[in-house]
Symmetry: none
Subunit: 325 residues, 3 copies
């Protein structure tokens, strides 16, 4: 579809959240279709996890987004989908790869939402494809267990914060979950959640550096807990780390099912977003360093640095590998 002013910031760059929402919708369609392809209980594929995603080049208003999705692996209860997004300038015909994303879906029964159904297996053209898929499946399973830990944190507001401290840019928004946000099962689409997360993370980044910012990457996101129609969700973001030219923002989503008496507010999702600041010519600008004050902030900064260096090393290894091939 054609990107509109509403999909973009005032510099004309399409929000990363809009792209994530399109990716998730494509993934949900292909995996729901696949999981219903054999006779059996009807089901809806629910997003369980999105792997780390890089935004390779910014998309602009007036360009057309081409989204293509393919099922690349199936385990007994989950489906791996690869989604590619190309931006196309229909005036010049130029096409650019914007995103390559990997998503994991789980089929939930339409009759009983707590029942996970079996996934019809796909055919692999080569045996290695199945083995590599299995390896990715095991890796993400491990990783999902790990992130279950980091759930207690809450963001408290700071009064009269100094510029470039954590408290200076931290932001949160609330949203009442309406019918258009939800799947047939009455739970929030993963893509809607990611769009709101990107919105908050983008405001944190813009408040910190006061320039035009764009999403550079999103770390793996696990959707441990479903969010029901009628909930109030609070999406909070705080900056955790800055390198010379990037900012890392941690985003939490807390759901408050206030209409269901016994249920308490709970952490539904959390993730790290990385942003860069762009000049008018689209070149990356240096960003102001984050000033850490408390012990927790210093610890989180070091952890963020670890993630940053690890990603950098991985990317260099990939580039060397690509150069050798």
């Amino acid at each position: 579809r054609i990107m509109r002013p509403d999909d973009a910031n005032i510099a004309g760059n399409v929000h990363g959240g809009t792209i994530l929402k399109m990716i998730e919708e494509a993934g949900a369609i292909i995996s729901t279709r696949h999981c219903n392809s054999q006779a059996g209980e009807p089901c809806v594929a629910a997003l369980a996890r999105v792997e780390r995603t890089d935004f390779l080049s910014p998309m602009c208003i007036g360009e057309v987004a081409n989204v293509s999705a393919e099922i690349t692996y199936t385990s007994r209860h989950s489906v791996e989908v690869q989604v590619n997004v190309m931006s196309e300038n229909i005036l010049t015909g130029a096409k650019k790869l914007t995103n390559k994303a990997t998503l994991w879906y789980v089929p939930l029964s339409l009759k009983n939402v707590n029942k996970v159904l079996e996934v019809p297996p796909i055919q692999y053209t080569r045996k290695e494809q199945e083995d590599e898929g299995k390896k990715r499946y095991e890796e993400q399973k491990l990783d999902r267990l790990e992130t279950k830990q980091r759930n207690g944190d809450v963001i408290f507001p700071i009064i009269n914060p100094e510029p470039h401290t954590v408290g200076y840019s931290q932001s949160s928004l609330i949203h009442l979950v309406g019918p258009s946000d939800c799947t047939l099962l009455g739970f929030v689409h993963g893509g809607v959640t990611m769009k709101l997360m990107d919105e908050v993370a983008g405001i944190v980044a813009a408040r910190h550096c006061k320039t035009n910012i764009v999403t550079a990457s999103v770390d793996a996101i696990n959707f441990h807990e479903k969010i029901k129609k009628g909930c109030v969700i609070t999406i909070s973001g705080r900056m955790t780390f800055t390198s010379n030219k990037s900012m890392e923002i941690e985003v939490f989503v807390d759901a408050d099912p206030f209409l269901d008496e016994p249920r308490e507010r709970y952490r539904a999702v959390s993730a790290f977003f990385t942003y860069v600041s762009l000049s008018k010519e689209g070149k990356p600008l240096p960003v102001p360093q984050l000033l850490t004050e408390t012990e927790d902030e210093k610890r989180r900064f070091e952890e963020g640095k670890g993630r940053y260096l690890q990603t950098k090393a991985k990317r260099q290894a990939q580039m060397q590998q690509a150069a050798q091939q």
Copy 2:
């Protein structure tokens, strides 16, 4: 994309206007891409005309709309696009053809919006394709000249109208044209206009028969006049004819460019929409007959009857032809 509650009426049937908007967007993308495929002035394809469109089967919330578009003819200054919409129930895998539409686009220069550019010719696989396209091109050109006449009419509100008279159901809405309604040239997308027209026509039909109604067809629409960002548009609809099971509604779009001093309010588009009333099981219901009062209403009713009989005859001829093949 997946159909959401907002795309549909309270019975869960997707609005014809939502489908028309998707069709027009697909047509605008493919024809803008084609018109820029050769080196030359960059341009945007503007919708000039939509041929009569039948809604073959209703689409529902939760279904996926698959839209495919193909360029089928090019004249020197215009492009004919055929768009097919399939509705897919991803739970059962069932697919149905919802619409087949034919649209005509004209390339306007990005630098000078009043300049119509030349269209790169397409290759035809068979000579007959070109000849048939040329015939369609000549026919629509003739038809476009005719409709230029019917522009003076205005809809006046009636106080305390009797049930089932024209005044009883006539309706109008105003809309301020915002940035998301517009193309890169700053003019309203044809699809946005058609969606608003369907909204008004649907209100007229529902007021008349007070049941669940769906769009059955839209007569050819000519886009004679562009509508600029910042205009206020008034969309008015009145019922012109009823058969046993269908209602014909005439819709006008008037644009008021109140910020541009010299320009007066003008008629931008007009069209006939046909609606049917559906029972809970999706079967067509009889509709109350329209009560005509004035001479003009009686004349319009007869004209509507003419269109109705002509369409019916055409459809029967097509069915006979199909049966013979």
Copy 3:
């Protein structure tokens, strides 16, 4: 237009904010059109004030909202518009008056946004209309001066609040102002701001009483300060008062023009919203009493009680007057 699922809460009642937004759009169109009706500088009418508005009956999904607007008074630099909203059930034909609102607009030059232009005078059919209009004009002018004071307050979050305290239900959201939120001048539509304010107030009310709530009335709102495209706005709400069957919520809008270096965050709007809790049959329910803890909270509760009793007295006086006529 027809009310859609997205316009309403999960019980099917249309959000008061959606109605306020339609009212403001109608007012902006009629007053911009009027102010441009004489030769001169083109201008856009900006909302300066909305008088107290009562929501007389709830509107539901599937109903049609009929909005009519009329200019009732003009001073040298401002226009008074009366807007009526009727809800129409198109299945039964039943119509109900939902709202009567009075709005004040000021024409700002399209070339120089800080220049207020002159308003062409309207013709009155009776001399008393002009005198009464002038009286309303003077009254609102006075009232606008008063509210300029109440601007310093900030809402701080409370950790682990007790149920039914002020801290328990207070809420805030941030919103990045995009192009679709803005007029041609690049400033946020008053109606967009009111819709966001109603969204926050509704979440505060729902958190407090955990039932289906609807907007009952909105106190006069003054738009002292414009909000520019690209700003981040924070909308915060806290409960100030509860009667047996109603809740009063104070809402603040703070704008942070973070891209414009010299400009600081400022209070753009504030207002009081009153909500009632409805049973499934649409009858008003008793609401839990607000527990006030601090001195400020107790003072605000007393002030809210004052407003409540004043409004009640005024309404009774009007009903007696109506009974005598």
